[in-house]
């Protein structure tokens, strides 16, 4: 039996506004508990919400980037449930008339292929506070939960996809695409580790060729790209095993446990979800003019897809390279500076994705805090292309630059790494190596012509060693060949 996995994602993205969705309290991360929870956030009697215009602008930017319909008239509703970190007893959200309607984006897969994923809708809503269950309180011991309402009322957009993804890899590609769109737009920092971006995955399986969707399980609150992939793989396998053993999937909410790499059922709810939505009487419908939407559109930055296409046409990059370099705006900007300043886009791409990425990975730094600036890397590439240094030596120079030894020129000068391109000096080294290797010379002479180029490798290696890697490899090859062939 061949199974097909069907995945839809719900992604919550925290918007980068200064103040909350319905109050003037700060949204800054990391403040002392409850110092940013005002009377509106606490649902004090007599308070009224007033929506934040910037949150709407962010949501509209997102909708336009997703090629989606914009809800020029949107309505807030109350989603009723009780939990201590939700002071009002309801979450103010949108349901029937959300700010962003159906849309579509293209995701790029590892093998270079692309696929369209449809957006069902995206809506604005407020976040809840945080419950701390593990803290032991002096006065009350273990029996209490602590509530911090700083996050209550922080604006979110919830982005709901259609069940269009067919593998964990597609789901991750979609999530990465959402991440790059929101960070390009600057509407969120997209930091999954701090909860600025959270993902719920709806996963079901069906036999290949089957039209009807299988029963789905919803995996809640997955907090990294890697865990999204693992959680989907493990959940799909659980469902397949279950069905193949004659069981059936129950529609339920499950949690992914990354330590055990398994999903498990959350509390079986005593009462099925019944949120009893109704339009919020405290808030009027929000209407946005066509002018408003068009003004937002005219101010959109260049988006990942446009950059992806442009990097291929303008810099002749492969689809893979263009995709890798455009996922993060800061990386794209860095690459573009290096490419322009050095005039060598291909080399720039290789260095940014190779040595630089390895360095940042090792040092756990974002590219914005790279120890080697884009201008410095361009300077290094210029020294490779003008043959001052070889690619091999360049790696050594790069490490020195990363360690703070200055620009490429300073490092090359200080460490005496300038490539030897002096014909006389190279000829001398070639002669010495030939004189010291009579057996290899003899073999070379006796070898068939087709095999000779390969046999030159030994001599090149010796000469490189003698020059401490600084001799110009093209010149070594040329001079060596002339000298060896003269002995034939």
């Amino acid at each position: 039996m061949e199974w097909e996995i069907v995945i839809g994602l719900e992604v919550h993205v925290q918007l980068a506004t200064k103040s909350k969705l319905f109050s003037g309290a700060s949204t800054r991360f990391g403040a002392a508990p409850n110092t940013q929870a005002c009377a509106v956030d606490l649902a004090m009697p007599g308070t009224l919400p007033v929506p934040n215009e910037e949150a709407f602008r962010h949501a509209v930017m997102f909708g336009l980037a997703m090629n989606a319909e914009i809800g020029r008239r949107s309505v807030f509703e109350r989603k009723n449930y009780f939990y201590p970190d939700l002071p009002k007893g309801y979450q103010t959200t949108q349901l029937a008339q959300p700010i962003v309607g159906p849309g579509e984006i293209e995701i790029h897969l590892e093998d270079g292929s692309s696929k369209k994923v449809r957006l069902h809708h995206a809506h604005l809503e407020e976040d809840a506070g945080k419950s701390l269950h593990e803290t032991i309180f002096e006065t009350h011991g273990h029996g209490m939960s602590g509530i911090d309402l700083n996050r209550a009322g922080t604006p979110l957009i919830e982005i709901v996809s259609e069940p269009d993804m067919r593998s964990a890899a597609e789901a991750v590609a979609y999530l990465k695409k959402i991440h790059s769109i929101v960070t390009y737009l600057g509407i969120s920092d997209g930091d999954m580790s701090q909860g600025s971006m959270r993902c719920d995955a709806n996963v079901s399986v069906r036999l290949k060729g089957e039209e009807k969707l299988g029963t789905r399980a919803e995996i809640k609150n997955i907090n990294s790209f890697r865990f999204v992939e693992k959680a989907i793989v493990v959940e799909a396998q659980r469902q397949i095993d279950l069905i193949e053993d004659g069981g059936s999937v129950v529609q339920e909410t499950r949690l992914y446990d990354s330590d055990k790499n398994e999903t498990r059922s959350m509390r079986s709810k005593e009462v099925a979800n019944d949120y009893r939505y109704f339009p919020c009487p405290d808030l009027l419908p929000v209407e946005l003019s066509e002018d408003y939407v068009e003004t937002v559109r005219s101010r959109l930055p260049e988006l990942p897809d446009a950059k992806y296409a442009r990097f291929q046409s303008e810099y002749s990059l492969s689809a893979y390279d263009a995709d890798q370099l455009t996922q993060e705006r800061a990386v794209a900007d860095y690459f573009e500076t290096v490419a322009k300043e050095s005039g060598e886009p291909k080399l720039a791409a290789n260095w940014v994705m190779g040595e630089l990425a390895a360095l940042l990975n090792r040092e756990e730094l974002p590219i914005e805090r790279s120890p080697v600036s884009a201008e410095q890397l361009a300077g290094l590439i210029a020294r490779i292309t003008d043959n001052t240094i070889s690619s091999k030596i360049a790696k050594q120079v790069f490490e020195a630059m990363a360690a703070g030894e200055g620009d490429a020129d300073a490092v090359i000068e200080k460490r005496g790494l300038k490539q030897v391109s002096d014909t006389g000096a190279i000829e001398k080294m070639v002669d010495e190596v030939i004189a010291a290797s009579p057996a290899q010379v003899e073999n070379y002479r006796k070898a068939e012509e087709a095999k000779r180029p390969k046999m030159m490798g030994y001599f090149v290696g010796q000469i490189m060693k003698a020059s401490k890697g600084q001799a110009n490899p093209q010149m070594i090859n040329k001079i060596l060949k002339e000298k060896l062939d003269a002995l034939l």
Partner: protein, 95 residues
């Protein structure tokens, strides 16, 4: 028609309202009357009429994204039955 006991109990649970056993029938009857009104409304043809989101025919005014609130934590915490370390304390809730 009166709303049955089971439904009244379920609604009370969802709304976290305690309803005594003696009053369940009465609440069921009164909810039934409300539903009769809803039935009457649903009998009206509303084809082509947009759902009303708010009785006032106005649109929402938005505010600029500015921080206008300052920290008044101690005042608010003083209103809570229990608090410690800047947190509101509630009976333990675990998913």
């Amino acid at each position: 028609m009166a709303v049955d006991t089971q439904t009244v109990e379920k609604l009370a649970e969802l709304a976290r309202i305690a309803i005594s056993e003696e009053t369940i029938d009465e609440v069921g009857n009164r909810l039934g009357e409300v539903l009769q009104l809803v039935d009457q409304l649903q009998a009206v043809s509303t084809e082509g009429v947009a759902p009303m989101a708010h009785p006032l025919d106005e649109v929402q005014v938005l505010r600029a994204d500015e921080i206008t609130e300052s920290n008044r934590r101690e005042e608010f915490l003083a209103l809570a039955p229990q608090s410690e370390g800047g947190l509101y304390l509630v009976p333990k809730v675990i998913d």
